[in-house]
């Protein structure tokens, strides 16, 4: 029964859907990491963005406007992280942990203040972005069922893979981000301000993560729940690392994690295993994936040094 479910187009469709927020955050992580800063605040940015999405799409009665404002605020959190790390010289991990903890409590507090709800923001009338049926493609058997009729943000996330790739590898700013991340002194020696570059990278990272956060509460649902991001920011960090901090590599690993998430959802319905154990699946996949990645990296290094 499980095997049947796994081979059905519905599973792949769900996998792509589950991939979307992770993919946005993975791209966000890639941009930050390329500039030499690990953006561990992705989780907090996503959580905040999920709430902001609900609040602003309700306030403007426009999902697109809600997304726009959420992205700006996500970029602002990226800026705050950069300010602490680059100007005040806080440890980048500690600053990120602080943002994540503020997000956990802060979102609940904000929700309570605005709507009076504690766990779920059901009293706020927020909107969602539309699903799109792709003409022609939707008629292809199997494939059409997987790809078509996804939320528009899913398509945007796929387009962003290409956009971020072009940005990092084909534009002057992208080149400078990579140069700063790899050898700050070299970049500085040719007149590039590494601070400016890292600020820019973290703001872009915040924008991207905010899109992922918005998807959680404005993609298929129209409400925010407490701790909605559920570790996706951290999973994305792993996905980005395993993908070599490249957009394409990160995309492929995100697909794997997305599939694990979708699989876990199916298993929960099957109920042959304890619910909690199945829910652990995406995270276990992350851990195993990281282990395999590190091992292969170690082997590679060993081979290179032995040469």
């Amino acid at each position: 029964m499980i095997l049947n479910a796994l081979l059905s187009p519905e599973f792949f469709n769900a996998a792509l859907r589950a991939t979307t927020p992770i993919l946005f955050a993975t791209l966000a992580s890639a941009v930050a990491s390329k500039s030499g800063i690990i953006n561990m605040a992705l989780e907090g940015i996503m959580l905040f963005s999920a709430l902001f999405g609900v609040l602003f799409s309700a306030a403007f009665q426009s999902a697109w406007l809600g997304l726009f404002v959420t992205m700006i605020l996500g970029g602002f959190i990226g800026f705050v992280l950069a300010f602490f790390v680059l100007k005040l010289k806080t440890d980048e991990i500690l600053a990120a942990i602080a943002i994540n903890l503020i997000a956990t409590g802060g979102t609940v507090f904000l929700m309570l203040t605005v709507s009076g709800d504690r766990g779920v923001s059901s009293s706020i009338k927020s909107l969602q972005l539309p699903r799109v049926a792709l003409p022609l493609i939707e008629n292809i058997p199997f494939l059409g069922e997987i790809i078509s009729n996804q939320n528009i943000l899913t398509y945007i996330s796929l387009i962003m893979v290409v956009v971020v790739h072009i940005f990092l590898y084909k534009t002057p700013l992208g080149l400078r981000i990579r140069a700063v991340g790899e050898n700050k002194d070299a970049a500085e020696s040719v007149g590039i301000s590494s601070q400016k570059i890292q600020f820019t990278a973290l703001i872009i990272s915040g924008l991207l993560a905010a899109m992922g956060g918005f998807f959680l509460s404005g993609g298929y649902m129209t409400y925010f729940t407490k701790d909605m991001s559920a570790g996706r920011g951290f999973i994305a960090l792993a996905a980005s690392t395993m993908g070599g901090n490249t957009p394409i590599g990160g995309f492929l690993v995100s697909l794997l994690f997305g599939a694990a998430q979708a699989f876990s959802n199916i298993m929960q319905m099957g109920a042959s295993l304890p619910y909690e154990l199945v829910q652990m699946l995406p995270y276990a996949t992350t851990l195993i994936g990281l282990g395999i990645y590190s091992y292969s990296l170690m082997k590679k290094r060993h081979r290179l040094s032995g040469k």
């Binding site: 084909k170 002057p172 080149l175 990579r178 070299a186 040719v190």
Partner: protein
């Protein structure tokens, strides 16, 4: 317009810690020359160039560039004024291509948004061709050998319009073949009208390609000379000569057992360059074996090998007739070896910990100071107070952080720690570098006391005064080998020694370096 591209007049640079790095130095460059800046480590040549390149601002002095007085505020400012610098540690981004590295920061663009990669490659090829550099500009920098990386650095500077090129010890990381190739390139650059400052302490190289040389010692200029008119002997005298003569009382030498045997020791540096080249020697109890030499001729690598810090060597090192290759540093220390490292701030002490923690850090696990679980703090405090008193460490209390002390007192803490275990072999690497006269003379006195008591000492020093006064036997290290050995130190003159240090003279038969076969 005069033919002088650059004049630096009466430059004075004092660092915040009070060290006078450059004192009233005047330095001139004539257009189209290769000008050597010659001096030992710490002579002030790097500081002078940092002033020129805008990394340090001078306390006094004037910089005149192309007949106009100017100030250089930052490296960017220097670059825009036509000064380029090739650092010893390359400023390149490894995963980028040669072309990307060359255009980094000034990338050609197309449709205002994207990098025009074809244009970047074209520009890089053009500039490489103009200066006859054979480089595949599309290859990644990380895949290139050191010699080519250096060429990329030079091209980078040229692309940014450098008229004056500063090369900071460019041959230090190169193989002999790469060095030859570099020299051909430099001569071509000179023909094209570029002026080159060549920082070095290798006289043969300076003789080969430089027109003039400015010699520095102890932060002062010892004059500028036409390379053709000055002999290498004279250059070496100006560079390493002694300013003051010291003297110490020593008991007559009394040699005892051989405590260390080194046979055919070969060590390679991280870049694969040979640093210690087939070195053999013996060390006996009761002697101070001095190793003189300009820094960077393999002394550091030799010390790392014989103290057990680096096990990646070929050959044999026997301490008390035991091969130390399989022994841990702790085992080597327990056999009676003490090591005063070259750099007291990185290897010598934990600068953010206090004197108490530092001064006994090699013996906290001894039965005397430690119980089964807890340290015997009372006992430790007593011992520390004794040592502070004995070694005249000037401090507020034993709880003061070591990093807060002056250089001389930090070194005294290191020496007190190393000597407090009653060592049988002392490896002292630059034991008095950069510290005040009083502390230096105290440390030298202690070394002699230990030698008189029958301890074996290897003294590595770039300070000729020190090796002359302390050593019973003296060897000169040059390019990883011993260039000469002197059983009777008093019979050698400093001029003679200078010749060996700078590779002008070389003995093939090293008599007296090995006591027994």
């Amino acid at each position: 317009m005069s033919n002088k591209v650059l004049q630096m007049n009466h430059i004075m640079k004092i660092y915040p810690n009070g060290v006078v790095a450059v004192e009233d130095v005047t330095f001139e460059l004539i257009k189209g020359e290769i000008h050597a800046l010659l001096g030992e480590n710490g002579a002030g040549k790097s500081t002078l160039m940092k002033v020129l390149f805008g990394i340090e601002s001078p306390e006094q002095g004037q910089i005149i560039l192309n007949d106009k007085e100017t100030t250089v505020k930052s490296p960017q400012d220097a670059i825009s004024k036509g000064i380029g610098m090739v650092h010893q540690h390359f400023m390149l981004v490894p995963s980028l291509t040669v072309a990307e590295n060359i255009v980094l920061g000034v990338e050609p663009a197309k449709s205002k948004m994207f990098i025009d990669m074809d244009k970047a490659v074209e520009i890089s090829k053009e500039i490489a061709k103009k200066y006859n550099f054979e480089i595949d500009v599309t290859s990644k920098v990380e895949e290139l050998p050191v010699g080519i990386k250096q060429k990329v650095e030079i091209l980078k500077a040229l692309y940014r319009g450098a008229d004056v090129l500063i090369l900071d010890e460019p041959t230090a990381v190169l193989t002999p073949q790469e060095t030859d190739e570099l020299f051909i390139q430099l001569k071509k650059l000179k023909e094209k009208g570029h002026t080159i400052i060549f920082i070095s302490h290798k006289l043969d190289e300076i003789k080969e390609i430089c027109d003039r040389a400015t010699i520095m010692r102890n932060g002062k200029s010892k004059g500028t000379h036409n390379v053709a008119d000055i002999s290498t002997t004279e250059m070496s005298r100006l560079m390493v000569g002694r300013d003051v003569v010291l003297s110490f009382d020593k008991k007559p030498i009394e040699l005892k057992d051989t405590v260390m045997k080194v046979r055919n020791l070969t060590v390679k540096g991280s870049t694969g360059v040979l640093r210690v080249d087939d070195l053999s020697f013996d060390l006996k109890a009761g002697e101070i074996f001095g190793i003189a030499g300009v820094e960077g001729n393999g002394q550091g690598h030799l010390v790392e090998a014989i103290t057990g810090l680096n096990k990646k060597y070929n050959g044999e090192i026997l301490v008390f007739d035991e091969d130390i290759k399989k022994h841990s540093i702790k085992q080597i220390r327990e056999s009676g070896m003490a090591h005063i490292p070259e750099d007291r701030m990185t290897l010598g002490c934990a600068k953010n910990m206090n004197i108490l923690d530092n001064i006994l850090s090699n013996q906290f696990d001894s039965k005397e100071l430690s119980g089964k679980v807890m340290l015997k703090s009372k006992k430790i405090q007593e011992r520390v107070n004794e040592l502070i008193k004995e070694y005249l460490v000037k401090c507020k209390s034993s709880k003061q952080n070591v990093g807060m002390l002056s250089g001389g007192n930090i070194q005294k803490v290191v020496v007190a720690r190393e000597f407090s275990t009653n060592p049988k072999i002392i490896i002292a690497n630059q034991p008095t570098r950069g510290i005040d006269v009083g502390a230096a003379s105290f440390i030298r006195q202690r070394i002699i006391e230990y030698r008189d008591a029958g301890c074996a000492v290897i003294l590595i020093s770039a300070d000729l005064n020190e090796v002359f006064e302390l050593s019973d036997r003296l060897a000169v290290m040059y390019k990883g080998k011993f260039a000469g050995v002197f059983k009777d130190v008093d019979s050698v003159t400093e001029i003679e020694l200078g010749k060996y240090m700078l590779g002008i003279k070389h003995d093939d038969r090293l008599e007296g370096i090995i006591y027994e076969q």
